[in-house]
């Protein structure tokens, strides 16, 4: 066993030795150790290099507040950076790596930053990295400085492979959530659960409940835990960090499930996110000890007194053999006695206070410990570990005299205690400055947050926690010449903070951003109060006048995996498939994503690429017949005596005059007058309509209708029901469409006179009930077969077989797009972008002119929407018919416009048209309809493309092919 282990005591299992490595060096610890306590037992305090100066650093704490000892843990293909060694539970085979050092932890080339540190002060980055103005204000930063700095600095390396672990999520509700399982939290949980009814969740960040009670051997802890465990209304979560406190008592907890295990159980989640809605939250988060900011206070071996005591009593390891104690607080006397009892020699207690409690001093003296009151540490020496301190006596004029040296191999410091108010502050509670504690304490609870703080986090300190010091301790000579660290993780010194105030940063928020104090991953848990103290002194303002920065979530860093939870891979988002999807898969279709839907993009035959397949599919539709899966279209069944009235109010068109059995193309605007959706609407009965919407607009349109029905027109007797997924929709398009359907349809006369274009009939197809539309989005004779989704595949296969007989086949969304563009049919969201009116896209004819109102009517009357020169839908033909312009390309009057020339418009759709034997494009162009015949230009990197403006119909302008 290590020389540094105490002979007995503590909560480690001395019978279970565990082997682990640190930077490849094999060492031994015990079950119950943290990585930090095990390393200390092996005499290792140097665990990392600081962020900016690459100074050697060791742990200053034994818990979540640790700023220095950040390491990377690797295991079986996994790598997790920036873990606090003070919280990593040791397991057999643990492999940890130090960070931010190259080539090695004890010889780090980046430490040269320490030598040039006079030039790396606060605001250095802002002032220095300005490049030559001619190259743009940001050029030098993005091209030179930032890449170099990022390569040299930084914390651990982000893992590069996919996360191998699984993460779970639970939503939970409870009557009382107790955060913190120390003395106060356990007491609160006991009380809250006593009636056996209230559901209580108790969580604690550590491996064991107990908090500071784990440093002693009281029986109460064990009894209390047994009582709580026996109550079925209590859920106890260890290794669980409450990291976010949101509105209405919603608290996020991170439960670590497997990181402490030597063998990872297969399939078990690594972490579990608890999203808890609590009736009441009891914060029992305790207090964090503050360091003292004295010169060179960052050498390995210098730690918080409470942490030193914890290592000795809970983990059974002496942080060293000879300690110097530097304190402003009574609790360090107890720590000194505990260390002494653990076999540590105490060089002296150096107390900054002129008159420490005489009883405490007497107790120390009795134990053989020298006490120097009114004394400060003025410097430390030692390479990778502190070896000596110098101390000086405070003088009545506030100067410091004397330079006695004391040998020691660690320093235990205490600037007093700070209530851990992070979660209270996150809950938007208001803090109050407490003169006695020299700290902020919870004051006013935010509305809607039923919570209370108990114990040390509420400022209820025990007697031995008395005494506190904020700011930098006095030094002999010029304080600007020493490095007294305030924020260890971001390497911010007292001098940096004073510099910030001299440069005009008087708000604590500005000081924070200028110096980066409190902005590291530890969120300033150990640094905020000292930083405020220095600002307060430099500005001559009281500490509450200086103010306090906001505490933000998360309390400690949280893995990305936890937030992703189950939403990964195939489960990231629902993948919606139509009833015909698997048929298309079997046919070898290529798919495209349309929102959450998978749609068949094209059906390549042997050797075909997308162009060849699309060209062939277009030829099928124009030449014989094509069938297309249109099941994703949004569909709404609107029923009630006021159905037509409702449609009149929401769509621009007339609806009351639509006959039963007929269809009409409807256009939907928003209140501003812009096109937001379109689709064919069929009248099945006087009081029943079948509405279709765009695929992407289905949910939005349904929600908009429900909103209007519930809030604007609750008097209308009409109700809507989504039938999007009730029906599979099969479009049959082409001159042979009727011939394909004829053998399959019963009870519907397909003849043109009986069943004209834009009509709907109900009957049967393949024995299945159908709503059969005669509509066309291709310009050819067309039908759309609606059948119940469960029958979709069978009906599709029957129709496909007939189509094959007619020389036709299936086509995908790419061909569908080309075919409709040849006819100049718009796609909402492609020809429109939220700023197009019906007239802009050539659909002004659809508006019911006599209607007194509809959604968007007032918007259309705004001067801007009625002005001349608006962008209008036109067609484009490239002078070179083989060139297909890029969608989104800008259009100008000149081939080489001067820089800054505004575009006339842009290309909205562009395809190779097999039908036309040339490229075709749709565009929106200012005053476009008046420009038909003009030659315009599409400037591109390889030279401008000349185009002629034409009417936006490239094929069958008279619409004769609709009749087959």
């Amino acid at each position: 066993m290590s020389m540094l282990r105490t002979p007995s005591g503590g909560r480690i299992d001395r019978t279970r030795a565990l082997r682990f490595t640190f930077d490849g060096r094999l060492m031994q610890g015990h079950q119950g150790d943290t990585l930090a306590s095990a390393l200390i037992a092996n005499g290792v305090h140097l665990m990392g290099r600081s962020f900016k100066y690459h100074r050697p650093r060791g742990p200053i704490s034994a818990g979540a507040e640790e700023p220095n000892a950040l390491v990377t843990v690797t295991r079986s293909g996994r790598s997790t950076p920036n873990l606090r060694a003070t919280q990593i539970e040791l397991y057999e085979g643990l492999a940890a790596l130090s960070q931010n050092r190259w080539p090695a932890l004890d010889f780090d080339i980046g430490a040269i930053n320490g030598l040039i540190s006079p030039f790396l002060g606060a605001g250095f980055y802002y002032k220095t990295f300005m490049g030559p103005k001619a190259l743009g204000s940001n050029w030098a930063w993005t091209k030179i400085y930032e890449p170099v700095i990022r390569a040299a600095a930084g914390l651990g390396r982000a893992p590069e492979g996919p996360d191998l672990d699984r993460y779970a999520n639970r939503f939970a509700h409870c009557d009382v959530l107790v955060i913190g399982g120390g003395d106060a939290g356990l007491t609160a949980a006991l009380e809250a659960s006593a009636d056996g009814k209230a559901s209580v969740i108790l969580c604690d960040e550590q491996a064991e409940f107990g908090g500071w009670l784990l440093n002693s051997d009281g029986a109460w802890l064990g009894e209390t835990l047994a009582t709580l465990a026996s109550r079925p209304n209590v859920r106890m979560l260890r290794r669980t960090q409450a990291f976010g406190y949101f509105a209405q008592n919603f608290v996020a907890l991170q439960e670590r499930l497997t990181d402490h295990l030597a063998d990872l159980p297969e399939g078990t989640p690594r972490e579990r996110l608890w999203q808890v809605r609590a009736g009441e939250v009891i914060l029992a988060t305790g207090a964090i000890e503050r360091p003292l900011a004295f010169p060179d206070n960052d050498r390995p071996g210098i730690m918080l007194a409470g942490a030193a005591e914890t290592y000795a009593t809970r983990y059974g390891v002496r942080p060293g053999t000879r300690a110097a104690i530097f304190t402003a607080c009574d609790s360090a006397y107890g720590a000194a006695l505990a260390l002494k009892a653990a076999g540590v020699e105490i060089a002296a207690i150096v107390d900054i206070r002129l008159k420490p409690d005489p009883a405490l001093a007497a107790q120390a003296l009795e134990a053989g410990i020298a006490v120097h009151s009114g004394t400060v540490i003025t410097g430390t020496t030692g390479g990778k570990r502190v070896s000596h301190i110098t101390i000086g006596k405070l003088q009545p004029d506030a100067s410091v005299r004397g330079a006695d040296q004391l040998a020691c191999d660690f320093v235990a410091m205490s600037g007093g205690w700070v209530p851990s108010v992070h979660l209270f502050s996150q809950s938007r509670g208001k803090l109050r400055w407490d003169e006695t504690l020299n700290a902020y304490v919870p004051n006013i609870t935010a509305p809607g947050q039923k919570q209370r703080s108990v114990g040390a986090c509420a400022g209820a300190f025990s007697a031995e926690m008395r005494g506190a010091f904020n700011g930098a301790t006095p030094v002999p000579g010029d304080p600007a010449k020493v490095k007294a660290f305030v924020d260890f993780q971001n390497d911010v010194t007292a001098r940096d903070i004073r510099l910030a105030t001299r440069e005009g940063m008087h708000s604590v928020e500005h000081v924070k951003r200028f110096t980066t104090t409190g902005m590291a991953t530890d969120q300033g848990k150990t640094s905020n109060m000292n930083a405020l103290g220095i600002v307060s002194e430099a500005l001559g303002k009281s500490l509450p006048e200086v103010g306090l920065t906001t505490f933000r979530q998360p309390y400690t860093p949280v893995t990305f995996g936890l937030f992703a939870g189950q939403a990964r891979g195939d489960l990231f988002d629902p993948v919606r498939k139509t009833p015909i999807h698997n048929w298309a898969v079997a046919q070898g279709a290529a798919f495209e994503d349309v929102g959450q839907w998978k749609r068949a993009h094209y059906f390549p035959q042997k050797g075909e690429d997308i162009h060849a397949a699309t060209n062939r599919e277009c030829r099928l539709v124009r030449g014989t017949v094509g069938i297309f899966d249109a099941s994703t279209l949004g569909k709404i069944e609107l029923v009630g005596p006021d159905a037509a009235e409702f449609l009149e109010r929401v769509y621009v068109n007339n609806w009351k005059n639509l006959g039963v059995g007929r269809c009409r193309y409807g256009i939907l605007l928003n209140e501003a007058g812009f096109v937001i959706d379109d689709g064919v609407i069929a009248r099945l009965a006087p009081d029943r309509f079948h509405i279709t919407t765009t695929t992407g607009g289905a949910a939005r349109v349904f929600a908009m209708f429900e909103d209007y029905l519930q809030t604007e027109w609750p008097d209308l007797k009409v109700w809507q029901t989504s039938i999007t997924e009730q029906y599979a929709v099969i479009a049959v398009q082409g001159p042979k469409a009727r011939a394909v359907l004829a053998p399959l349809v019963e009870g519907i006369n397909l003849a043109s006179e009986a069943f004209p274009h834009m009509a709907i009939r109900e009957g049967r197809i393949c024995g299945v009930e159908t709503r059969l539309f005669r509509v066309s989005f291709s310009g050819e004779l067309g039908f759309e077969v609606n059948v119940p989704a469960s029958q979709g595949r069978a009906v599709w296969e029957a129709i496909h077989a007939e189509a094959i007989k007619q020389g036709g086949g299936a086509y995908g969304t790419e061909a569908m797009h080309v075919l409709r563009a040849e006819k100049g049919f718009i796609i909402v969201g492609q020809e429109t972008d939220g700023t197009m009116t019906p007239d802009d896209v050539g659909l002004g004819w659809a508006i019911g002119k006599a209607k007194t109102d509809f959604i968007g009517k007032r918007g259309l009357m705004r001067p801007d929407l009625m002005a001349a020169g608006r962008k209008q839908l036109v067609g484009l033909q490239t002078l070179d018919p083989k060139v297909v312009p890029e969608e989104g390309a800008q259009i100008t009057a000149e081939a080489n416009p001067a820089p800054g020339t505004a575009a006339l418009g842009h290309v909205t759709s562009s395809y190779w048209s097999e039908t036309c034997g040339r490229s075709i494009a749709l565009a929106v162009i200012a005053n476009g309809r008046a420009r038909v015949g003009e030659v315009l230009h599409i400037p591109m990197p390889g030279g401008a493309i000349a185009v002629t403006v034409v009417a936006p119909v490239f094929y069958d302008p008279k619409g004769e092919r609709l009749n087959g």
């Binding site: 509700h173 999007t724 997924e725």
Partner: protein, 192 residues
């Protein structure tokens, strides 16, 4: 019909019995309707349906055994919206009877038999699996047997009906069903 919620059993550990967590049983094909209308229309429809529609919000009424002749379910999922579920063979007759009985009262009755698929989720951890992706409080005090609601499971809308302390019925739009079932199976890993 029953299947385990474990997508892949752990290789090194014995496979847990299905009922240690929960299991999914797919519903047979069923006829489903959405009924929306005035209270008068509801009253008229209820008597024709053979089962009075529940008046209270988020409450279910049912008689008979699912899929068996005469079975009727009425789930109030909105102030004026009911989801009705009957055996597939009785769908047409029920539709006709309801339309006849409510002819005098404005209403909407729409066939959505194929819009949904349904399944039962049953087992000691049934509520926990749903709570892996649904933020509702499923404690029996807050969500008792007989309660039904439209809610979210992760990003999918579901209708969730508690039929027993450890038995839920889930109705979901058909294209979302694979997503919902896969998420429940994934969540089962948290209870191994």
């Amino acid at each position: 019909m029953a299947k385990t919620l474990m997508a892949e059993p752990p290789k090194s550990k014995p496979r847990l019995p299905n009922d240690a967590i929960a299991w999914i049983t797919a519903a047979p094909p069923l006829a489903r309707f959405i009924f929306r209308g005035s209270p008068e229309a509801e009253a008229a429809a209820g008597s024709a349906y053979g089962l009075a529609f529940p008046k209270a919000l988020n409450r279910a009424a049912s008689i008979g055994e699912r899929g068996k002749p005469g079975a009727r379910v009425a789930l109030r999922i909105g102030p004026d919206e009911l989801l009705l579920i009957v055996p597939i063979a009785e769908g047409k007759a029920v539709q006709t009877a309801l339309e006849t009985a409510t002819a005098a009262h404005p209403h909407s009755l729409v066939d959505i038999s194929d819009r949904h698929t349904g399944f039962a989720l049953e087992g000691p951890h049934a509520a926990d699996l749903i709570n892996a992706g649904c933020p509702l409080d499923l404690d029996e005090r807050a969500f008792p047997v007989g309660m039904v609601t439209r809610t979210l499971l992760h990003k999918a809308e579901i209708v969730l009906w508690r039929m027993g302390p450890t038995l839920f019925r889930v109705e979901v739009w058909r294209s979302f069903a694979p997503y919902v079932e896969a998420l429940l199976e994934e969540a089962a890993h948290d209870f191994l």
